[in-house]
């Protein structure tokens, strides 16, 4: 189940009507020889989240390098990740994802890491869920274009209920194991 929600997060169909999905900045960090700033990397990550909102795998794919790897309940390649999004996206909706407590590190002028927390709230078919996650994203600039090379999603806690069921009143770390998303 965790994997389902990892996919949901990646496929987060955030209804941002009227907003064109931002494209990855090709000049984050402005000068080629300079390391990208924290704001640049956060903007890149947010741009990906916006692209995910579109649910358009072409838009999402533009952010993922050919050798992209997703590490969650399973390890997926770029093609596998996009295929999962394509399968799940029509049935799933999500509230906008926010980047909380970001830690950004520029390892070089062309490589940056961002670690942050976020909360997925949404539905997938008859299932409704709220999941807290730690996200790690590795961005690299190749031929002037920033793309994500690796993404790791750690589920912290959360719940999944069927439509009509009562939501847990407290999901901060004391989630019923039987309801915890787990791959």
């Amino acid at each position: 189940m965790k994997q389902v929600f990892s996919v949901l997060l990646l496929a987060a169909a955030i209804p941002l009507a009227g907003q064109a999905p931002p494209q990855p900045s090709s000049d984050a960090g402005s000068a080629t020889a300079q390391k990208p700033g924290d704001a640049d990397v956060i903007a890149l990550e947010q741009s990906l989240l916006h692209a995910l909102a579109s649910g358009n795998t072409d838009d999402i794919g533009a952010f993922l390098s050919p050798d992209f790897i997703s590490v969650a309940g399973k390890i997926h390649s770029r093609a596998e990740s996009l295929q999962l999004i394509k399968v799940e996206q029509p049935y799933c909706t999500s509230q906008p994802l926010a980047i909380a407590h970001p830690q950004v590190s520029a390892l070089s002028s062309d490589v940056a890491v961002i670690v942050y927390q976020t909360t997925f709230r949404g539905t997938c078919g008859l299932r409704k869920g709220k999941v807290d996650l730690n996200i790690t994203s590795i961005w690299a600039r190749r031929n002037g274009k920033w793309q994500m090379r690796m993404r790791t999603e750690q589920v912290l806690n959360g719940f999944v209920v069927q439509s009509g069921e009562k939501e847990p009143s407290n999901t901060d770390g004391d989630t019923d194991e039987s309801q915890r998303p787990n791959d």
């Binding site: 050798d67 790897i69 590490v71 969650a72 309940g73 399973k74 390890i75 407590h101 830690q103 590190s105 390892l107 070089s108 062309d110 490589v111 890491v113 670690v115 927390q117 730690n134 790690t136 590795i138 690299a140 090379r149 690796m150 790791t152 999603e153 750690q154 589920v155 912290l156 791959d183």
Partner: protein, 160 residues
């Protein structure tokens, strides 16, 4: 005598030539480890140092600004402290495997590795087998690969 001397002289010359040829023959060398292999080896050492609580060695393997992103996000000192506390319980940690590693290079001195791992934890005759998907970022610093980021996602935990 002359014949004997000539024979010995020829024999010595032949031996000398053989010695020269032998000395010039390329000696078998240890197979150089690929850069990808170096990253896998570094990750394996990381796991070994963690499972044996070799904190001094582990500290040297992690960059000062290392980040561990699990259920908690920790810095280097916090991770070392956690490992020390984990090893204070009367259990034995088995070696963690590095299975199906995928190594990619972000630039010549920055690499990522993603893989599946299994590790046994033995406590009072019970064996817990934990499995995880793991990702790390390694940075080559002055010829030594050091970890900058490490994340573990537990995918299974079963008691034998």
């Amino acid at each position: 005598m002359t014949e004997i001397a000539r024979f010995l002289s020829s024999a010595m010359l032949a031996l000398l030539q053989c010695a020269v040829v032998f000395a010039q023959k390329p000696r078998p060398q240890a197979h150089p480890v690929s850069i990808e292999g170096q990253v896998i080896a570094a990750e394996t050492v990381f796991q070994k140092d963690e499972s044996t609580a070799n904190l001094t060695a582990l500290k040297g393997l992690l960059l000062p600004d290392f980040v561990e992103a699990d259920r908690e996000i920790m810095n280097r000192d916090q991770l070392l402290n956690l490992i020390q506390r984990a090893h204070s319980i009367p259990c034995q940690f088995g070696d963690a495997t590095v299975e199906h590693p995928i190594v990619t290079f972000l630039d010549p001195d920055i690499a990522t590795i993603a893989y599946h791992s299994k590790q046994n934890l033995t406590c009072g005759g019970h064996v817990l087998v934990a499995e995880a998907n793991i990702s790390s970022v390694w940075v080559n610093t002055a010829g030594h690969w050091k970890a900058r980021l490490h994340a573990e996602i537990v995918t299974a935990a079963n008691v034998k």
